[in-house]
């Protein structure tokens, strides 16, 4: 009995092999739990809130938005938030660069990094409480000032208090990100620039800064989004009814004081839009800078 073995058509690969061509294999399944998480904890609530914001307690479907933009007590929170978030972000990113430049060359970098990371682990509430006591009218800082005859300075329950707290709690994060971008730049590039006659300043301007720009843009985005959603320190250290009445306070009040979750959702959407606007602006600016690898060789 002779059975002709028909040659399998070349283009008819088994499903597994065809999927492998698109880099899909068993390991891909490991991404599923994360995907479920993103859908359940981000996409669904976001979509839910988005829809909810167009179903106000009373009035037409845009009533929440028109209410927000007609009431200065509400729309001025946008400006108040920007007035805090923008300077805090820019200060943190700008200060992180020289510090990271210095720390990069230190031998016991680990110790310093650990010290700087502590504020992250403490959380904003503890920092806020600490600052409240330390910088308060009876705190060490003001007592020393009084002792020196300078007199008391008001540093808490106002704009300054919140700003200080944002810088303190935001800096470690910004710094670590800058440091990792900076250490990613091949040190031989700077050495090459030096042998070609570039002084420290020129090396920074022509070599480090252009290669760092990409990382700094990402850093700006991340720390801006973080500071824009400031809440605990604005309440604890600021003037939550005045200068530091940020947008998250307005959303909180709508949700838990007026029990208007539709309005709260609308405020959250506006907040999200503000963040998105700045992030898109920064990322658009990014197209003007070099975006490739920061290595000097092949590969």
């Amino acid at each position: 009995m002779s059975e002709a073995v028909s040659p399998a058509p070349v283009e008819h690969l088994p499903l597994r092999a065809r999927l492998a061509l698109y880099d899909l294999d068993g390991v891909t399944l490991l991404a599923l739990p994360a995907l479920l998480f993103v859908v359940a904890l981000f996409i669904y609530p976001f979509a839910y809130g988005f829809v909810l914001s167009f179903h106000p307690k009373s009035g037409g479907w845009l009533a929440n938005y028109s209410k927000f933009f007609s009431d200065p007590f509400l729309y001025e929170t946008i400006e108040a938030t920007f007035r805090l978030a923008l300077p805090a972000t820019v200060i943190n990113v700008l200060v992180s660069v020289p510090v990271a430049l210095r720390v990069r060359r230190m031998r016991n970098r680990r110790i310093l990094t650990t010290i700087l990371v502590i504020p992250i682990t403490l959380g904003t509430v503890l920092i806020a409480e600490g600052l409240l006591i330390y910088l308060g009218p009876q705190g060490w800082f003001n007592r020393v000032l009084v002792m020196l005859g300078i007199g008391q300075v008001r540093l808490v329950h106002n704009y300054t208090g919140v700003m200080l707290s944002l810088i303190l709690s935001g800096f470690p994060f910004t710094f670590l990100l800058t440091l990792s971008y900076l250490t990613g730049i091949d040190p031989s590039l700077e050495q090459a620039a030096a042998t070609l006659g570039a002084k420290a300043r020129a090396r920074f301007v022509h070599i480090l800064l252009p290669l760092l720009a990409q990382g700094l843009a990402i850093n700006l985005c991340l720390s801006f989004v973080q500071t824009f959603s400031v809440f605990p320190s604005a309440v604890l250290l600021g003037a939550p009814a005045g200068a530091t009445r940020v947008i998250s306070i307005a959303a909180y009040q709508a949700a838990y004081e007026q029990y208007d979750s539709s309005m709260a959702s609308a405020i959250a959407m506006i907040m999200g839009f503000c963040q998105l606007f700045v992030v898109v602006l920064i990322l658009a600016g990014r197209s003007f800078v070099y975006r490739g690898a920061a290595g000097g060789g092949k590969g």
Binding site: A192, A194, T195, Y290, A293
Partner: protein, 353 residues
């Protein structure tokens, strides 16, 4: 306006040393390099050759000794004030700048006028034969082209001294041969002194006017390629120059030569620094001849085909493994007899190494 190295007479290293903590990476290197000379620093990894180069470039400070360019002491100058050209092992091209801006960077740092830079960069591009690649980014070039850009960038500032740190180690074998010729041609064209770090003896032999063999932070021997090839002064230098057979033996003086035992047979050799006592005998594999009346009997254990010849290893009657080369086809298990000319058999005192 051709690119020509800045004029100087000589570069003098005087006891140049560098320690890293307790490690003596460089133990008092003394050397004089004349303008136009091509010097190869040759040695195994960790011998201090790259440390020496970085010290010359100013990227590492010295922990002792001094470096002089004619009558100026330069070892305390920062790299940017030395004006030496350096070619890095990984090329270190600025990834965000075009090839032109990479090459022109050094000139721009000197504050040269734009037209001037433009002309010099064109000149450098044509020297390294990359005239039509000037507007690309380094990432768009092949390894060999990146290498050429790195060389162009180093020579365009017309440095008195060009330093090269294993520049060919990332290239494939064919390109390596091609770039070797290019490097020598460019060196002669601009007339600088070149100091070239490598661990490849063949590269050093073919490129350099003088080779400096280093080991453990020390200079072991300085000499012309032929001298090093034919008459290494120490057994370790011999080992590095391709004297793969290093046999322990006892020597007895026999007139101008010495009698030693190689593979159980009595052989005559040339004494380098020992005529009697415990010695190391060094023989290159290609200096062994397969001869029916050769004194050394060998059973072949492995054969590698190298194109024209076979590279073999075999076991001698005294148990020593010997390496030799032959053009006649041999096989594993064959018994052969080897002979070597006494002037090709070098005898070193074992105490000295």
């Amino acid at each position: 306006m051709a690119i020509a190295a800045r004029d100087f007479r000589e570069l003098r290293l005087d006891g140049m040393s560098r320690t890293f903590g307790v490690l003596n990476a460089l133990k008092g290197v003394t050397l004089t390099v004349r303008r136009g000379e091509f010097i190869a620093l040759l040695g195994p990894s960790g011998c201090g050759k790259s440390t020496a180069l970085n010290c010359l470039a100013g990227l590492l400070t010295l922990s002792g000794g001094s470096v002089w360019l004619d009558k100026t002491r330069i070892d305390r100058l920062s790299p940017e004030d030395r004006g030496f050209g350096m070619v890095f092992q990984n090329y270190a091209l600025f990834p965000h700048m075009s090839v032109r801006r990479n090459i022109g960077f050094g000139l721009a740092m000197q504050g040269r006028p734009k037209a001037d830079i433009e002309r010099k960069v064109n000149e450098a591009l044509s020297i390294v034969r990359l005239t039509d690649q000037g507007d690309k980014l380094p990432g768009q070039l092949s390894g060999g082209q990146q290498q050429r850009v790195a060389i162009a960038r180093a020579i365009v500032i017309e440095p008195p001294l060009v330093l090269m740190d294993e520049p060919l180690s990332n290239l494939d074998a064919k390109l390596r041969l091609e770039m070797r010729g290019e490097i020598r041609r460019i060196h002669e064209l601009i007339g600088s002194a070149t100091i070239y770090v490598t661990h490849d003896q063949e590269e050093a032999l073919s490129l350099a006017d003088r080779i400096v063999v280093m080991r453990a932070g020390e200079v072991r021997q300085v000499g012309a390629p032929e001298d090093l090839y034919l008459r290494p002064l120490h057994a370790d230098v011999a080992d590095f120059m391709g004297y793969r057979n290093q046999i322990r033996s006892r020597a007895v003086k026999a007139g101008n030569l010495v009698a030693i035992s190689v593979g159980g047979a009595s052989v005559q050799g040339t004494p380098v620094d020992a005529t009697e006592g415990e010695v190391t005998v060094a023989i290159r594999p290609d200096d062994f001849k397969v001869a029916a009346d050769g004194p050394i009997a060998l059973t072949i254990e492995s054969v590698q085909y190298h194109g024209r010849e076979f590279y073999c290893s075999g076991r001698a009657s005294d148990g020593n493994e010997l390496y030799f080369q032959t053009e006649t086809k041999v096989q594993k298990g064959d018994a052969v007899r080897l002979a070597a000319e006494p002037r090709r058999v070098l005898v070193y005192s074992r105490a000295a190494t």
